[in-house]
Symmetry: D3
Subunit: 319 residues, 6 copies
């Protein structure tokens, strides 16, 4: 008795594809996280002038998965010294950058500090010291993709975890109130950090990628199409590529999430397709809410952004 | 001895097409402005709650070219009563809307008040009481286009002028420091208000439309293509349509501008084409600066937005 | 044992999605039709010269859902005074117009009178006095869409019903032989008038829209994409929009049809998709015939037009 | 002092590219026309039933450039035996067909007889007995293109000339009032028959092809792109292809036209580009009128069709 | 427990649509093959110079389905007279040609002779003497399509069978080791010749067409879209067209194949869609191997070509 | 008196845009070449099995601009030890690879040895040890682009020069007869190596890039669009980017070429646009031939490849 839209959403809510995890998934992450647990962040921060007098703007950097300096903005409201703010850690979408301080002005007016990082190599200021050992497809996804240890996803996941750690260390940040947000690639990172780090208290994953990647590599026009092109050239590597992806697939990692998450999804998104988003979402066992938009493609609407602001405020005790 | 990019820009700097103004252009505007000079704005404003504690947000409305209530956000920093801020009046691009208060948070952190209005009928909350008296093309441009008195451009120009007037009336606004900004349609409106109103002190017109419209209707993919489609169906109306457009063409009105303006232009913009932007810009006689982007299409880059922030701060005495 | 084409058609013939009707559907139409039952048409007609000496061409107008004058052509064969012709009422597709008298010359040669009307606001001569009370998406569909009483579909349905009534009143028309035809939007109107008016004797609905609109808004590239865009901007209005559409959905109204109808469908039509056409068609209980074209998109072929001519001639007693 | 549209049209009006005629152009046509001068048409006609009682419909055929039977509709108003009507000969656009009798109903109502022919091989009922002696590109243009004697354009030009001759022979046709019309390929044929046959009294060439083909093969997306693809595969044939085309180029033949012609042109037509249409038009020395549409692409508008009807009526003495 | 790619392939492996064969399929081919069994090939060959000293290049021709001379390259390694090589017969894709001798140099270096033929009428040197008896769609597929006896597929199938026969007759060819290869149309021909001729010893059919054509005409963008367009214009011919296709559909003929075949398939091929390739492949009862590429469209990768080389070498006793 | 095609080509032949060379261009290359003059190539080669018995296939590697091992195929005809062959060095197009040995079989049959190298990082087996020090655009062009010393073009130019050197060192190569060939990026490399190395004896540059890059970055859709996107994000780097490109622009280096070159060009090539190819070609002072294809886009036709084979044979003394 449901209409066509309700029927479609109902099918997605019941979509539970097989996990693709290898037997040593947990062991891999235990070992990997241990490797970085004690590694110093070697962070730096420098106050810079902007036309926004009401915001303190720091050009920041810290060391991520290797000695690549990850560039970032650390932003705070103006306040008496010693004030500690809840902090939003922002991850951007594929090919993007940490953006400009003005993009985060609304968080400052809400009472948040903000850390917005570059994802390595992409459109910001941050380089990428990962060596490229063999031929690749345009983009960042395929160099190193034949092994989980050299995979780009491994590096950016560690970079993202360490971003939250660097944010928590700052004197203006209340380390008990670090929250994550991002869209697309940034949403995928928000989910995987939620699964792998005990630090964040809540997360917003708009139209996340890094979900049900066996489906996405076959059907989507996302950055996974780089991996598809790579396998198209080297069909013998199909198995290795799928295996590598499985270690970073939120489908497999979602059950680890212990914090409240908000996820969004557009039914017309050909990039982070609804099947992929729901496949991971349906595996989350903590407090969660899905915001589904029947007619939206691969974008985040103003309304969804406002819902995220309210969600973050609520979980930071600002509402 | 110049490279291909310099050569292209040099040609644009020397591009001075004929004015298309009718003999009674000045008389038309004198009469039209007089008609509205004493008409009350009947404005309203209501404080609304948002997650941004540092911003006062008012849902506002005022009467524009007819009794259509124009919806808007009026936003101010939190400050002691009686403080007066310079105010940025924002005009959006075609099919857009006044947006969300959070879009203007950076201006608040700079120390500006902001008024962001809906352009009537388009994607915001504002309707359009202009009657449609004959068949039209999808969009807002062609209903009424056969006569300057019923033209949509006339209505939105008056709406835009009265926006600045309403902003100046608010107790939090310093009426000597009202500045205009917009992109595309919004840039066109910023220019035409600069030409027709004595109120603004400076203006930023990103990639403005409403410039050299005889060229744009023939060559661009802008909203003028609605007018082109209309003439395609009714070839007998070519003259009338071109005549109507001429009264609202910044090519003809640019010499009236008396304030500092910043204009931007993308050499790859198929919508607000470089020829059209330069044609109007080259007719401006006041203090002016052009920001030209050789590889940009119809968008406003983060860097250009920052330049605009600095320009506005400088002309508002905030820098 | 069927081939791929037969299998596809077989699936469509068995496709019976749920009705989406609200409980008060019948009451809504009873009230609405009663409101217009006694309202005068205030029609006008004026003989105009064309190069076609064998056709009497009248520029006509009548009042539709409000006081908007609906423009139309009323065309008759030349004959002795007092001759009464069966009359074809023609509804055009979205963004179109009543066309030119020459488009209907073949009906004249068949012995029909013709009434071809503008759909309000679209590409003909007819304006639209419906007020736009809030922001909308380009096109005619979304202003007023939040309420069945202000919906554009309500207005054009009434306009279309009254077209048949005006046609029946003309002295050259045999009021017992008024037939309807249209394609796409025009096909949708032909069906809904067939469902709501006792006047027509038969109808042809080529590739009709206004069918199974919950499916169409989600999947098609028809004018419903305007409604989809509207909901994309205002997700909170999804329910209201779907509710409004349900009152005008031929899926819900088809069981009321009591006259013979011919319907056509292209299996490759991304606009009026086969699922939507069959969903309504399968609910029709009167004499009906489906003409399905496996390789046709959103167009009406010459052959289908000829079949329609034969169908109309047969039901008008001309064959 | 002209606007951008006037400036563009002015440039076209002054555009006089070099003729591309070979020295023996006249000799070629003298010989070719002589070859067919006495060849019998071997026409046939058969009355068929349609729902249009007011039109006599004959399925006709005659022999064109070889023994291929060219299929056609010959249509007349109903009238007393012995009545002779002016006759419109219609040539269709590329890939099209003679159409359906109902497409020409308006001419019948004007008092014309109509002959609408298939262009050989294309979308109608008519085959093509020209042998294909070497490999070709999809479409009809390139088989035989290496020699003017075997060229498809030669065959269809003769077919088109003989169509006018067959029309003139019919007892219902007034042989002094044969007029030509067509669009695109049909416009090209209308011009070339006007140049080569003494029979027609006037012609309408909407957006004609077969004009300034050296420009068109380089720049347009017309059927000449088949010839371009052929030369792309066989670069050694560039000269032969251009030479063949030159014998059928209205640029070279236009000065022979002795009858009134109406030509139309869309400034946005990427197929029969304005440069090509004007290049031929500017060479016509007889009574002529150009209808130029600044915003039209490769289509013929309703308004232009009405102008053509009036032009034909005037030159047939029907107006 | 399978991932999305395995699941998709598994579905294809189990896809067994109904045969579409007419009752007289076997009788048709028995009669047809008998008709050509004794018909002389009337072959010619002429040694031509190329820059490749290590290859003997013969411009060859033979008679195919009618008296059309089929042009071809016959290529051999340089060797002592009397040496007999295994011979690869190559069929090209739609609109292509026999190519250039250099395209086959790798086969020469492997120790193969090569015969590469033109498919009639398409992009090589070979004409097409099949008469076109009625109007058609651009391309070679639809002339003659209303009857299996006049169908283009019949002619090219016979041409392809006789190519193998001509190759086997050459003194440099070992007639026991004739092998077939082709892609797309060429793959379809390789399969149908494998089914109908006792001559070949093995075949490679890359992404073959002429498979499950009832599905392909409805869903693919292959050359079958010409047949779809033809039926779109002439809906009354749907049955005749499907019937004609059924005689040349490898779906129906695959069970006749008695030799080893390698078939390839791209899951993203919109032209020779996976359903069509698997439908025929699943009906093959001889030794067979499928090479499926999850991310490949309508192309043959370098790796697949190498696999084909190895397959051919193995079955020719060269490996 | 020329036709449109001749006129276009004539304009190109007279197109002489300004050089963009910096004052220290010569000094830069003198220093750079000196730096690598004595650096060992550290080459390796390993015989591998393929199905092509007539070709010796070596998997090779050597060190290029840094310690990145450049992977390559070194291929020779089978011959008595001590035979020395002229050697073709092949550079591939952007995103491509060294290909497969079978791609070069025709050169083997001509009597050439072949070296086909990977361009670093792209679609072959070769990695890229250049560090990425800041954010970049997808692709290989923009990392390092802010300085000629770190530019990707510098590395690949040195890699390409050293390829010729490694080829010349092989015992099967006649070092006096090393010839270069490539298309697009490979054509650009063939030209720049011709300009900078004394080793090659002749070169073929099909549709070369790295020519008149100030024009190409503004107008083409080539890999320079990566640089354009980079500047679009970082407008402050326009000058630095153009300066870097100038050191690798064949426009500036062409006058250094001392060997015979064949260049090709497609007038419809939107990637390596005719203006850019002719701009460099017109500056070449040695023996040269241009092959221009009026209707070709960004591809190399079979005929042009054959011309290249003949050109190479002639200059290697094989013809």
């Amino acid at each position: 008795m449901s209409n066509a839209i309700e029927a479609r959403i109902g099918d997605l809510e019941r979509y539970i594809p097989s996990l693709t995890a290898e037997a040593d998934l947990d062991e891999f992450w235990e070992r990997t996280l241990a490797e970085y647990a004690g590694k110093p962040l070697n962070g730096t921060r420098e106050l810079v002038q902007t036309p926004m007098k009401g915001m303190n703007v720091y050009k920041a950097a810290y060391e991520g998965a290797d000695d690549t300096p990850l560039h970032a903005w650390y932003l705070t409201p103006q306040a008496e010294e010693g004030t500690r703010f809840p902090c939003v850690v922002h991850y951007h979408g594929y090919t993007g950058s940490k953006g400009m301080p003005e993009h985060f002005a609304h968080y400052i007016l809400m009472g948040f500090a903000v850390l917005s990082i570059d994802v390595r190599g992409q459109g910001g200021d941050t380089g990428n010291r990962l060596h490229q050992h063999y031929g690749a497809v345009k983009g960042w996804l395929t160099p190193g993709i034949l092994d989980r240890e050299t995979a780009y996803y491994r590096a950016i996941t560690i970079d993202a975890i360490r971003a939250a750690e660097w944010a928590a260390e700052q004197p203006e940040t209340d380390p008990e109130r670090v929250l994550l947000i991002g869209g697309s690639q940034g949403g995928g990172l928000a989910l995987i950090v939620s699964a792998l780090s005990a630090l964040p208290k809540a997360a917003v994953a708009h139209i996340p990628n890094m979900c049900h990647m066996d489906f996405g590599i076959l059907n989507s026009n996302s950055s996974l199409s780089e991996a598809a092109d790579f396998v198209s050239r080297h069909p013998e590597h199909l198995g290795a590529v799928l295996k590598t992806l499985s270690y970073f697939d939120n489908l497999n990692l979602a059950p680890r999430i212990r914090i409240p998450v908000m996820v969004s999804c557009g039914l017309k998104d050909p990039c982070c397709m609804p099947e992929t988003v729901y496949a991971a979402y349906n595996r989350i066992e903590s407090e969660k809410e899905m915001r589904v938009y029947p007619f939206d493609g691969h974008w985040v609407s103003d309304g969804q952004n406002r819902l995220a602001m309210e969600f973050l405020a609520r979980h930071a005790g600002l509402a």
